[in-house]
Symmetry: C2
Subunit: 442 residues, 2 copies
């Protein structure tokens, strides 16, 4: 293949990839059909499970077997999980006997567990082989389509994990030495039921290419490889970000979602927040007389409550992400509270001062606030101190409260925190105003 | 090593890892000293560059060489980048001659480029070797501490990349066949200057374990492995999340940041937003007469402007994440605008209806809104329609505008969008009120 051919091949496959998300199913089949056999294989293998399932469903029935058999068991399981109920049995039947058994076993795991991520094909060795025998044995095993031979796992006859030896170690060991003496026994493992987010944390901590999945009796069930973890990390971050923005996790690319689905994912939280925010109207009604007497008070309402919301969003975002990265645990709540109290006071001091100056300077330029402008300026200052400190504390503690009740901390979205803080912010503001302006404006 | 020993070892190392972020440097050195030699190596290798540099700086000078020589060149470069200016030269001098040269070359790349991520040691083959020779040659190369032998790269005498053969393919090929005939030539590569986020996208698209880094003449400079990409994906998501929450990216774990640094990272955006939000006071002052005549108008201000902020936050969050995942490009702006216009209208319709009912039902229970309650209800309805549609459009378009001007779209944070929408929301609300309530309340 010449360099130019290569270039144009790469172009065709990349073009299809770029356009994929906006193509109809028919257009996808058409585009897929235009690829050369090699390209089509590469492209098919790189598709996410649901997309591959959809494509397969649209291909002629007689072509499906070829594509199904191309897949490693974990990818086949992903594809089948992405297919419609009625297709699943059919697709499973396209696999050969032994793969079918492996895939069925994988389908028993929830998709977001270690067992649902793993590949059941891994390189295995016996402890009493010598290095040369082990290399020859691995060479035979690779013909059975192992996904990775980066690590070989040493198991006893019951498949219980005894140790691990990396291929590199095996390769650089003297040929006659026993596997038992070349292997390491302190193997990092994950349980088959471990949540995928926790699995990704184990990978991040240990810098490994693959980690074996074991059951409660330490029998090895398969391996999770780090390339699947990249997808997990990205998926989990996307979910968190979407929740933190005040939507349900979309669970699909933005452009691929229909209008009605899109509205459904968004209206729920918006409606809840809207109903919560209605209490601001109630709170304001409670202070209606004060507003009637001093309309100037109403002018600062948006400024003051939004400052509480903004500082609260900051705090909750930082704490949620720190929790997701395991930098902050439930037991750190008190440490975080103290920090955020101090942070809130300092932020309040700075913004309160700016707010104070805003009133005083404005008054000097155009005297709109009357003789009591200093009292108004102090009302703004102390309200900001109170609202920002309260917002920061609420924003940082809410993720802890949610986690304590086993709700995803990421639900403490910026809009949620802002709504919580708005109502309290109004109460703080009007209380401060009542105290400082009594006998003056009120 | 017995099972119990293993357990307690694992415990010691995990305990240290858990406590790490809150330990002082002295405590870290102490804890590190308590680990067995094997554990200490495992632990040291899993530390992020800056932490490893800090630990090393605190260890006695004569111990440093041992730890530096444990590192692969890319990890050594990370550590040196994390060290203080004055330590860098010293640390570099601890390496052996050839590693020092490799590390110096890596240090010339920016940390967030492909060149800054790569390992310069990769498995290489010549096209005319046969498979058996190739395996024997790789076996020799592994003694030189290659990081991965998952793929072997076939190069010409000028180190220009000709093809790639996976170890598995090599292992399952007939021994006599030439490497030239076993290799694939359509190799996915990345340029040495490619941004790390783009590199992570290439990994996500192709499901590869390692990708070679080439210069403009297609000479191979090193390989990036997928385990480094997990860190990149996580780092980039953290940065985006923090920006989206309205802070500067912290660049360090939450608990490790001092109070002053923490306030510094947060006050900047808060102050900008606060100053922006001051326009709400100006806008409200413009409608002061209307408020004085109909105080009831003030009551709905927080409800209405926060609805715009919330719907805007949703939209910007979804678009920013879709951009980061490459699901949405700059050229999609019109498609997104049309979608979000429809979405905004539908969301506005639902929330507007709830708002309308709130006024009407409240009035039925406790007639607080007077004879013009229906006009007030319609004011609330139409304002919500307008504010939510405007908020949704602004939130979705702002990331495009930022990207167009080469600013990170993640800066279109929830608080930023809310602030933008607040001022306009007030104008929309009071304009609608003036139109619908003229001759009634106004």
């Amino acid at each position: 293949m010449s360099a130019t051919d290569e270039r144009s091949d790469r172009l065709a496959i990349d073009d299809l990839r770029n356009a994929w998300v906006v193509l109809s199913t028919e257009e996808r089949v058409l585009g897929f059909g235009l690829l050369s056999s090699d390209q089509a294989e590469e492209f098919f293998l790189s598709l996410p499970g649901t997309d591959a399932a959809e494509l397969l469903a649209a291909l002629p029935a007689q072509d499906r077997r070829r594509w199904m058999r191309l897949l490693a068991p974990d990818d086949a399981a992903d594809l089948i999980q992405g297919a419609s109920e009625e297709m699943r049995g059919q697709l499973l039947d396209l696999l050969d006997e032994s793969t079918r058994r492996e895939v069925s076993a994988l389908l028993a795991y929830a998709e977001d567990r270690a067992g649902g991520l793993m590949n059941p094909r891994y390189a295995r060795l016996r402890p009493d082989m010598n290095v040369d025998e082990a290399i020859a044995y691995l060479r035979r095993q690779t013909r059975e389509h192992l996904e990775t031979i980066y690590y070989a796992y040493v198991v006893d006859p019951d498949q219980r994990l005894l140790g691990v030896v990396s291929f590199r170690e095996l390769f650089s060991s003297p040929p006659g030495i026993r596997v038992r003496d070349a292997m390491r026994t302190d193997v990092v493992t994950v349980d088959e039921q471990m949540d995928q987010e926790a699995v990704s944390r184990v990978f991040a901590e240990h810098n490994l290419i693959a980690i074996p999945v074991v059951d409660s009796a330490r029998r090895i069930k398969g391996i999770v490889t780090v390339d699947d973890i990249v997808d997990v990390v990205e998926e989990e971050a996307t979910e968190d970000i979407q929740k933190m923005g005040g939507t349900q996790a979309l669970g699909a690319p933005y452009l691929s979602l229909g209008l009605v689905e899109m509205v459904k994912k968004r209206i729920g939280w918006l409606a809840v927040l809207f109903i919560g925010e209605m209490f601001t109207a109630t709170a304001m009604a409670y202070f209606e007389d004060e507003i009637a007497r001093a309309v100037v008070l109403a002018l600062f309402v948006p400024l003051i409550i939004s400052s509480g919301g903004n500082s609260g969003s900051q705090a909750s975002t930082l704490v949620i992400r720190a929790m997701a990265l395991d930098e902050v645990r439930l037991r750190d709540w008190w440490r975080v509270t103290r920090r955020e109290l101090m942070t809130g006071l300092l932020l309040g001091l700075v913004l309160g001062t700016i707010g104070f100056l805003r009133v005083v300077v404005w008054q000097a330029v155009r005297p709109v606030y009357g003789v009591h402008y200093l009292a108004i300026a102090f009302t703004v200052f102390w309200s900001l101190m109170g609202v920002i400190t309260f917002g920061t504390l609420t924003g940082s503690l809410l993720p802890f409260v949610l986690r304590r009740f086993r709700i995803d901390p990421a639900s403490a979205s910026a809009p949620f925190v802002a709504t919580l803080v708005d109502v309290t912010g109004l109460v703080i503001y009007f209380t401060v105003a009542t105290l400082l302006l009594r006998g003056k404006l009120l």
